[in-house]
Symmetry: C2
Subunit: 248 residues, 2 copies
């Protein structure tokens, strides 16, 4: 795959795609995901790590709630990475990440992730370019470790929204009582740094691409959910999993 340029990638569903039909497909996929996850857990051979990144308002929480949140929580855990604590900062940046790497049989979802250490930190210049390059190597090594040493399949999703859509969604948070808890005045400050964020995201997609990122057009929730449900379904159904039978 060539270098990713976000401006060249649409944030919307392909022209003419039927919303209702797509939603029905997603529902079917999500129902099957529950069965596939049960098989993953029972077989206990593979593990799955789903990394979700995106700008504020890109709908990370929604994907977790509507697509990944319908599987059995005994086998699916979600870790949301916020600003690091003092204890976390006193270790290498992957220390708090590695602890939540999925055990075999498990699906682990990261709502934000180690990628913040080369995104927000670079945008605000808390991390210089030299350190960023070292971090990218460390991330690649770490993801290789999980893939090669624990049968971990990594899916990395970037929820790609337009700045206009973001502005609308952030503004909604000021008006809708059910969304006000998400409102943070700082989000509007961050939004002004849009172009720098896009540049840092592009570098991260291009440098940390084993496995490659899926850029998910995310202006419409129905399409975003379909793409992610499809990708997780494709992965799980391609693992050739089998129930292990009676233990001998």
């Amino acid at each position: 795959m060539g270098k990713i340029k976000l401006k060249e990638l649409s944030t919307r569903a392909p022209e003419g795609l039927d919303k209702k039909e797509t939603r029905e497909k997603t529902e079917k996929l999500v129902a099957e995901l529950d069965e596939l996850q049960n098989l993953l857990f029972a077989e206990g051979k593979h593990s799955v790590l789903v990394v979700i990144q995106g700008m504020d308002g890109s709908g990370k929480d929604g994907v977790i709630r509507n697509v990944l949140g319908n599987m059995n929580p005994q086998g699916v855990t979600v870790k949301s990475y916020k600003a690091p604590t003092a204890e976390e900062l006193s270790h290498d940046f992957l220390w708090r990440i590695h602890q939540y790497a999925p055990a075999r049989g498990m699906i682990q979802v990261f709502n934000r992730s180690h990628y913040e250490d080369i995104l927000i930190t670079r945008v605000h210049k808390w991390c210089d370019d030299e350190t960023a390059v070292k971090r990218m190597k460390a991330i690649n090594d770490f993801e290789q470790l999980l893939q090669e040493h624990n049968h971990t399949h990594i899916l990395k999703f970037y929820l790609h929204i337009s700045p206009e859509e973001q502005h609308e969604r952030l503004s909604e948070r000021m008006k809708d009582p059910a969304k006000m808890w998400k409102y943070n005045e700082k989000d509007f400050e961050e939004a002004k740094l849009w172009d720098v964020y896009m540049q840092m995201y592009e570098e991260c997609f291009n440098e940390c691409n084993r496995p490659e990122w899926t850029i998910v057009p995310a202006d419409q929730n129905w399409y975003k959910e379909y793409i992610i449900a499809s990708a997780v379904h494709e992965l799980l159904s391609g693992l050739g999993m089998q129930f292990p039978g009676l233990k001998k």
Copy 2:
């Protein structure tokens, strides 16, 4: 440094070295280590990882008790790695290791370590050569992560004893009431695999050598303790540490 061949390296102190004098030097070093560790903790900039490996009876516990155990336990923690639990086995082999990586300001001692995953596991063929090579790369990446991303200084010690000395020490465990708790009949079985162990150790010294290993002649406890006290002292006193002064 050239390739390490254990058979060519003495397990004893250099001829003519005075035992009493050396013990006095060690005592002085150990007393100073307590001060240096206090400074490390106060400054909170560097972290230290001390890895101790060696055959059964090589005196790992003694080093910890007599050399490293005299510092303030608030700033020095010891993790002994035993056979992995079911939960540990359901993750990559470095998962249980990374959790105990030292925070800045701390000294972490590993009594056995991630190296067992390319030692005992290879000797017993639980891990094939191809996996071992991948594990060595993962170990090098991991140690690089700690060194580059958390100011971690890694000291790796191999306690080098002769098979004859080992036999004597293991036999003592059957006779001395204060040592019987360490007796394990399986140790004698493992001892028969001496040559294979030496070969696996050599590969691990030669392949995972950033930083290089210190091969410690360990047939005499007084000399072993002197070498390790000296190495830790040299590291800490070379860090150019300073008390940070009043916070502003």
